[in-house]
């Protein structure tokens, strides 16, 4: 790794990018570095560190908007919001412990720029959307070295193309973002979770589907098979080894208790249930959000590295996907660990890294369902060998290449982070 530039203004950033463009020198775009281990590894001599571009520049709680420089830490943003009893409804995950180890990761907080660039979202994705859905405006420097902006600072706006969506999940391959405006919302007054015990995967997906199809405004639904539930090692799960299916409701106090009771009665034919209140409910969902069940796996250091996959499928097909994957893995299925979020639509997989993180069976099992699999955690060597992101259909790949060139004609901005050449 060579020189790292840390511009202190958007103008200096534009100068640096213009220089790299003029010299055709590829650069790695960094926020606070907490997700540097996500995506194909950068092989660049230079990196652009945006962590000096910090600070909340506009926060109007009544208008439900917040603007900040891209390098502002999520910890700072979340603290400012909490003071006004507001939050980012997409429940951004913190992958720092998963990607960097629990000790190092605990001290890290990603940046707002990194959060939207990776389009992060937590368990509330199924109700409130992902970072993309809350991203209202941007300013940044394109791969042409030009300072541009898009969107605005109001929650309802259709003026011009939605370049925010395009940058959400682009992993910095189009532009280096410097200023970001997001929609914020009042945080719910209360949170509670209904826990169902002992369901197998298929029955759990049925239970979650039924809960999501109710009018109780469920804000999260996850299923933890027995082995995973046990690994939570928490005070709030029963000691015996049973699976746990968790369904969350949020809102004003009287509404939450009413809806929990209604859900328990409507799911009573499937399993016995309990309720998890405020603090423990928050704790449970933070662990699901940050993939904590696999943080310890990733660090056991048994001499074997663990690969962690994030798989998105139609929610009602979650259990079918896992069954298909187990069949595809054959004997290797014995070492597969997994759990479900997003009512079955998001499946976290942990597998021994091996030679190729089993990328072929992981993706082959998607056929017939539709969806995609992303290798979230693996050693750098492996991430440069196997396709980290779901390979694109040829037509989409060609169009994506043209879109990339429209911002970054020379191909210097985080090029190859997602796909070779993009």
């Amino acid at each position: 790794m060579g020189a790292r530039f840390q511009p202190e203004s958007i103008e200096k950033l534009a100068e640096a990018v213009s220089w790299a463009a003029a010299e055709s020198i590829p650069i790695e775009i960094l926020g606070r570095g907490s997700k540097r281990g996500l995506g194909r590894p950068a092989q660049t001599e230079y990196s652009l560190d945006l962590s000096a571009l910090t600070g909340i520049t506009l926060y109007e709680p009544d208008e439900l908007i917040l603007s900040a420089r891209a390098g502002t830490s999520m910890a700072e943003i979340e603290a400012a919001l909490a003071e006004q009893k507001q939050y980012l409804a997409f429940e951004p995950a913190n992958y720092a412990p998963l990607l960097n180890g629990s000790a190092a990761g605990a001290a890290m907080s990603g940046s707002l720029g990194g959060t939207v660039s990776c389009n992060l979202a937590g368990p509330r994705r199924i109700k409130a959307g992902a970072a993309r859905d809350h991203f209202l405006g941007l300013k940044g420097v394109s791969g042409r070295g030009e300072i541009f902006q898009a969107g605005g600072r109001v929650v309802k706006n259709v003026t011009g193309y939605d370049l925010m969506k395009l940058h959400a999940g682009a992993y910095g391959t189009l532009s280096a973002l410097t200023d970001i405006t997001v929609k914020v919302l009042p945080a719910p007054e209360k949170t509670r979770s209904v826990l169902l015990f002992g369901l197998d995967d298929a029955a759990a997906v049925t239970a979650m589907t039924r809960a999501m199809g109710s009018s109780h405004e469920v804000s999260a639904a996850a299923h933890l098979p027995a082995a995973i539930a046990k690994a939570f090692g928490s005070s709030y799960f029963p000691a015996e080894s049973r699976s746990v299916t968790a369904i969350r409701v949020e809102g004003p106090g009287p509404s939450v208790s009413h809806r929990c009771a209604a859900l328990r009665s409507e799911l009573a034919d499937l399993a016995e249930s309990e309720e998890l209140h405020s603090h423990n409910s928050l704790l449970l969902w933070a662990q699901v959000r940050d993939v904590m069940p696999f943080v310890s796996d990733a660090q056991e250091g048994k001499g074997e590295e663990i690969a962690v996959w994030r798989v998105s499928v139609p929610p009602a097909r979650g259990a079918d996907y896992v069954a298909a994957l187990q069949e595809g893995l054959g004997d290797a299925a014995a070492s597969l660990r997994y759990f479900f979020d997003w009512s079955g639509g998001l499946i976290w997989l942990a597998l021994p890294e091996g030679a190729d993180a089993s990328y072929q069976p992981v993706r082959a099992a998607l056929s017939g369902f539709g969806g995609h699999a992303t290798l979230i955690r693996a050693t750098a060597g492996l991430r440069s060998r196997v396709p980290v992101f779901q390979p694109l259909e040829p037509g989409i790949a060609a169009l994506s290449g043209r879109v990339k060139s429209s911002f970054d004609p020379i191909g210097i901005m985080n090029t190859g982070r997602m796909y070779v050449g993009v």
Binding site: E15, P61, V158, G160, L163, K165, P186, G213, P254
Partner: protein
């Protein structure tokens, strides 16, 4: 409104082009007769009219693909059209271009309650989706006021909103997948029944792209369970300031209502005269606050909002005690546009968004402009999200009034941008606001957006003349002026 000069060579080839299109879409799907083309001469923005060269009404994705490929090869411009309800002239035809009508794509292909989604063709109406699933207790959330007529394909193109979008989002927040065709005929499938995209979020980019990037041939939408209950408050205020204060107080109390609509005095009177909803006539501002969700929650929050309304000095207050009463509260608001149409020969509907706290200032400035132009203005306002719909009253038969109304409208939109807002909240830029784009974006911003268009449509054949005030050639946009020089090392901290 100045459109690009028609290409006379293309117009001269009308017969030949029609013959080629008939090879793709046989029978009555290719329309060339002038009297029949008049149907397509304008959309919901009726001030602008232009019959197209030819209208084509394909029935299959394959036909759409072949039509577009032919048009690219022949250099023929294409204006896609759904139900033609655009209020910004998004589907205004070109004299040297074809209208590609998607009206025959009118089937609901699949309803999947387990995955809470429906796969539909783009010509299905917005309300048609809800009608197909409501017996099972589901609905499609975005509800533009034209929902009975507007098509879902058009909703995708315009990223349509509605009165419930503060809580439930715009079209873009309620889509899962698309099938679309590029100008070179390539058919692409984006997304599906799962969440988020692999690669770039092309679904998000397509939504609200106003027919300039591709033609949508299939849409997968998210379905939601209908809220258990909904109740509304009808509140009158002696000033728009105090109504605005209540809106801020409701949000500060952590409450996001399903709908929050404001009307000013002129709009209240027009609506009441028309539908007799029982609106108070001695108030300056009327606010409808609707809460929806689980019954226990709605009842609880109703109390809170009611207390806040008292504290903010509501001079009249009614709480809906039945579904009938709630619908009655809405009747006036929903009829506000036609109601204003009764008191003026013509009206021009604007669509800016402002930071909500700027409302009193914006209303005051609008009154001044109204006096300056000598034209009345009625206001309806999606109060929760700051989306303002001023209705400018004019008479098209009076010499110069349309131009005056347009100038008035442009001044309002400039004002919206000046106070930190935007040109359009939900109606789109189209031809209407095209020339105002530089008020909001720099030349660099607009060129970057056009480069994105070039990635989809290198010859600028899809809906040209819309959105961008000046069309640059893609070759020119792609050029980069590289000035080689030393990286200013001393100025860049490095470590």
């Amino acid at each position: 409104m100045l459109m690009p000069d028609p290409d006379q060579a293309i117009i001269a080839r009308k017969r030949e082009i029609a013959a080629r299109l008939r090879e793709i879409v046989p029978g009555e799907g290719v329309i060339v007769e002038e009297d029949q083309l008049r149907v397509y001469e304008s959309d919901g923005l009726t001030a602008y009219r232009q019959p197209p060269l030819i209208a084509v009404l394909p029935e299959t994705t394959e036909q759409v693909s072949r039509i577009l490929r032919f048009c690219q090869e022949a250099g023929v411009k294409v204006v896609p059209r759904g139900a033609g309800t655009s209020l910004s002239g998004g589907a205004l035809p070109l004299a040297d271009g074809i209208i590609l009508g998607l009206g025959k794509f009118n089937r609901i292909l699949e309803v999947d309650f387990d995955n809470r989604c429906a796969v539909v063709q783009p010509g299905v109406t917005n309300l048609g989706i809800t009608k197909a699933v409501e017996d099972d207790g589901f609905y499609y959330a975005p509800d533009p006021s034209s929902q009975i007529a507007c098509s879902i394909g058009g909703n995708v193109a315009e990223n349509s909103g509605g009165v419930h979008c503060l809580k439930y989002g715009l079209t873009t927040n309620n889509l899962l997948g698309l099938e679309m065709v590029l100008i070179d005929g390539t058919v692409l499938r984006i997304g599906g029944k799962h969440l988020d995209s692999e690669g770039y979020d092309l679904l998000g980019l397509m939504t609200g792209s106003e027919g300039l990037l591709g033609v949508v041939t299939e849409v997968t939408v998210r379905l939601l369970k209908k809220p258990e209950t909904a109740r509304a408050l009808l509140l009158g205020f002696s000033s728009s300031e105090s109504a605005g204060e209540l809106v801020a107080a409701i949000i500060a109390a952590g409450i996001i209502p399903g709908g929050m609509e404001m009307m000013d005095r002129l709009a209240i009177h027009a609506a009441e005269d028309f539908v007799h909803a029982g609106y108070p006539l001695d108030v300056e501002a009327l606010l409808i606050v609707e809460l929806d969700g689980p019954k226990a929650e709605v009842d609880y929050l109703m109390e809170k909002v009611s207390e806040l309304a008292d504290a903010k000095g509501a001079v009249t207050k009614r709480v809906s005690e039945s579904e009938e009463e709630r619908m009655n509260f809405w009747a006036g608001r929903k009829a506000a546009f036609p109601a204003v149409g009764r008191i003026s020969p013509d009206y021009y509907c604007m669509d800016g968004t402002i930071p909500r706290n700027q409302l009193p200032h914006v209303l005051r400035r609008m009154r001044e402009m109204s006096a300056h132009y000598g034209l009345g203005v009625a206001n309806v306002f999606h109060a929760g999200d700051g989306n303002l719909h001023p209705l400018i009253l004019y008479d098209a038969n009076k010499e110069g009034e349309l131009e005056k109304a347009e100038d008035f409208g442009s001044d309002i939109l400039r004002l919206c941008v000046e106070v930190g807002g935007v040109l359009t909240g939900e109606h789109g830029v189209g031809v209407e606001k095209r020339d105002l784009m530089p008020e909001m974006f720099s030349e660099i911003d607009l060129k970057q957006q056009q480069r994105v268009k070039c990635a989809f449509d290198p010859d600028a054949l899809l809906n040209p003349g819309k959105v961008f005030p000046r069309l640059h050639r893609c070759a020119e946009l792609g050029r980069m002026h590289i000035s080689r020089g030393q990286l200013p090392f001393p100025d860049l901290p490095r470590f």
